[in-house]
């Protein structure tokens, strides 16, 4: 065969196979599109979320699916880039013809996707993207299960108000969308409490050395150090605080990295007594929380954390909505989602509107504390698993 003809045959075969895949299969499944960072720098969390989605899917389908029909998940990789995320969702909507969308890890990707979902009238349940704007645009097809970044510090605020009553504080935050919004809202909270803010400082994620800034913090001798950091930076911050012998009344992490097992592994003893705001840990008093944690551990032989729970809960919320939806058309599913009132491993889910936000799930946040290498829920009192240790023992007096 001449090379040109060989090429032609190959191309034809290829084109045919592409067409074949493009034709929707005549199955009775309900298609749910999931857009997650499966490659690129955020892939680690994309992976946990995908596993959790898969776990929820298997459970739901094992129980017979929804109204006798099975759910099918179609995962698409957004590689952490907004334009690629958009490609992925375009494909899910126009090629795979999904009836409902979920996923969305980074805020940048989620924001792009929400606009698209709204335009195409496909309901989109945001799993993780935490920028406040996501639910502030009045999009009728966009729902969010996790609280926005600005609400993470709520439990911390009540703890400060009732227990600590600090006079001075320092905020260090990573210069990301999440860090910026949540530190800003915490700054507002401090002002309301009448706490003097000595320093509010951003740093670029993955900085090697925090000592210069921590040295300055030390010289200010604040009562409270509040840090919004991801896990490895969090560990470095605590390690270097210990190295520099900085002794505020308490260290508080603003969620994100401070609750993960890797934080403890890397900070080692420096993790002890550190408080953190959190949305979820396996010890929170929600039915199914611990269950999910154990099942995940058993199935994937690795640890999970709140991102995974968000994903796991998301699919249950969608299944619940599908169960109640009149038909499986996107608009009916939207209506069903809007009237959601269910309980999940991530907490109770109900989409409400308040302030500028619409269709936002409202969840209480908690405070946890590392005590002898274990993460204990310490605040609010009614759900605490252990008493809090306060004030923090100075480094040199610890054994």
């Amino acid at each position: 065969m001449k090379p040109a003809r060989k090429m032609f045959v190959f191309l034809t075969a290829f084109a045919l196979s592409v067409c074949a895949t493009a034709v929707p299969a005549l199955s009775q499944t309900i298609k749910v599109g999931v857009v997650l960072p499966l490659t690129g720098s955020e892939a680690a969390f994309g992976e946990i979320e995908r596993n959790s989605f898969q776990m929820a899917l298997d459970e739901i389908n094992a129980k017979g699916g929804v109204k006798g029909r099975k759910i099918e998940l179609i995962f698409e990789d957004d590689t952490g880039k907004p334009d690629v995320g958009r490609s992925a969702v375009e494909k899910l909507i126009s090629q795979d013809k999904v009836s409902v969308l979920t996923g969305g890890y980074s805020s940048a990707v989620s924001i792009g996707v929400t606009a698209l979902a709204q335009q195409k009238n496909i309901p989109f349940l945001v799993t993780t993207g935490s920028a406040d704007e996501i639910t502030e645009k009045g999009y009728s097809y966009v729902f969010r299960i996790n609280p926005p970044a600005s609400e993470y510090p709520e439990a911390v605020t009540s703890f400060l108000q009732e227990v600590v009553k600090p006079k001075t504080a320092v905020i260090l935050y990573e210069n990301t969308s999440f860090g910026q919004s949540s530190s800003k809202s915490f700054e507002g909270n401090l002002k309301n409490l009448g706490v003097q803010l000595l320093l509010k400082e951003a740093y670029n994620a993955n900085a090697v050395d925090f000592k210069p800034i921590l040295t300055r913090v030390k010289s200010m001798n604040p009562d409270l150090i509040y840090m919004v950091s991801y896990v490895m930076d969090a560990a470095l911050l605590m390690r270097q605080s210990k190295e520099l012998d900085i002794n505020p009344q308490l260290f508080v992490g603003g969620g994100a990295g401070f609750t993960l097992p890797e934080f403890r592994e890397n900070a080692q003893a420096a993790a002890d007594n550190v408080f953190s705001a959190t949305l979820w840990s396996e010890s929170v008093p929600y039915p199914g929380a611990m269950d999910y944690y154990k099942k995940y551990n058993a199935r994937f032989k690795s640890n999970t954390e709140y991102h995974g729970t968000e994903a796991y809960a998301c699919l249950y919320v969608i299944a619940d909505a599908l169960q109640r939806a009149r038909t499986f058309s996107p608009s009916d599913i939207r209506d069903a989602l809007a009237s959601t009132d269910t309980k999940t491993a991530f907490g109770p889910v109900k989409f409400v509107s308040y302030g500028k936000k619409t269709q936002q799930n409202r969840l209480p946040t908690f405070m946890v504390q590392w005590q002898r290498g274990k993460l204990e829920t310490v605040w609010p009192r009614n759900v605490a698993t252990k008493g809090y240790i306060f004030p923090t023992t100075p480094w040199r007096e610890r054994k």
Binding site: T39, E201, P212, L236, A267
Partner: protein, 291 residues
């Protein structure tokens, strides 16, 4: 005053590691006249080697220097031999084909590592990762201080090697005048290969020393590549002593900047110094220090 001294110490300790990365880059720049934009990625690979040795075989990072450095030397040799040297003969519109090739190599290294290890953060938590000692009120991280010591050792070693051995002299001679070096019986092709190997090995050394104090992920290479070329330019291209100056300067500038201006200014400061030196002191600090 403590704040200042602590800042300075942090800067110097960090600068030691930077110098190590810078020397590797500067050697390559001097001999080949190209900027190796995969320097940070080579360092990243060595961090993963250290990580694997530590987590699988419990080999102490300082011992794994003996494995990571030869391994990266070999990797560097292969890169130079099969990917960079062949480009010398090619005539292209842009004279930067070798530089662009290093970009491609950096990309592939990152992705291969990501393929194997995923994007997860890894760390090498040794018993000394968290240890500190105090001189007065100034704290010194044990691991960073040891790293600084080893960095100084390797820097000195490198310096002596370049000054006192025939191979070292041949490398310098090749950097200054390739043709004359050939006339003196230097196999300059082999020298470029060895130099790239050495440059990679030094990057490996920096990576391995950094592993216990920092953490590891596939994209860590990029930022260090840019630091490496800033250092190289600061030090005056191809000057070993200059690279040490450059490394310390960048380390101190970053520290002082992040203490007194703010941590998010850390990168900007490096870059502005870089452009400033590039424009106003085209031969870097070499001109100021005459070395």
């Amino acid at each position: 005053m403590d704040v200042f001294w602590q800042t300075l110490v942090a800067g110097i300790l960090k600068g030691g590691l930077y110098a190590l990365i810078g020397i590797g880059m500067t050697l390559i720049m001097g001999v080949m006249g190209i900027i190796n934009l995969a320097q940070g990625q080579l360092m990243m690979v060595s961090m993963y080697i250290t990580y694997v040795l530590f987590s699988a075989l419990r080999i102490d990072p300082y011992l794994s220097l003996a494995i990571a450095m030869p391994a990266l030397f070999l990797l560097g040799v292969l890169i130079q031999k099969y990917f960079l040297n062949p480009l010398l003969k090619v005539d292209t519109i842009l004279p930067h084909n070798q530089v662009l090739m290093t970009v491609g190599i950096g990309m592939v290294l990152t992705e291969v590592i990501r393929f194997i290890f995923k994007s997860d953060y890894r760390s090498v938590s040794t018993t000394y990762s968290n240890k500190t000692f105090f001189l007065g009120h100034i704290s010194f991280s044990v691991a960073l201080t040891v790293a600084f010591g080893i960095a100084v050792m390797f820097t000195l070693g490198m310096f002596l090697f370049l000054m006192k051995t025939d191979l070292g002299r041949s490398i310098r001679a090749t950097a200054q005048d390739k043709e004359a070096a050939t006339l003196m019986g230097v196999n300059t092709g082999r020298i470029t290969v060895i130099t790239f190997g050495l440059g990679s090995a030094l990057a490996a050394c920096a990576g391995t020393l950094l592993a216990p104090v920092f953490y590891i992920f596939p994209d860590i290479g990029g930022p260090f590549t840019s630091k490496a070329f800033v250092i190289t330019i600061l030090g005056g291209l191809g000057s070993t002593v200059g690279a040490i100056f450059g490394g310390l300067t960048l380390g101190i500038a970053e520290s002082v900047g992040s203490t007194y201006l703010g941590m998010d200014y850390e990168n900007i400061i490096g870059m502005i110094i870089f452009v400033g030196v590039l424009v106003f002191l085209p031969s870097g600090f070499k001109r100021l220090t005459k070395v």
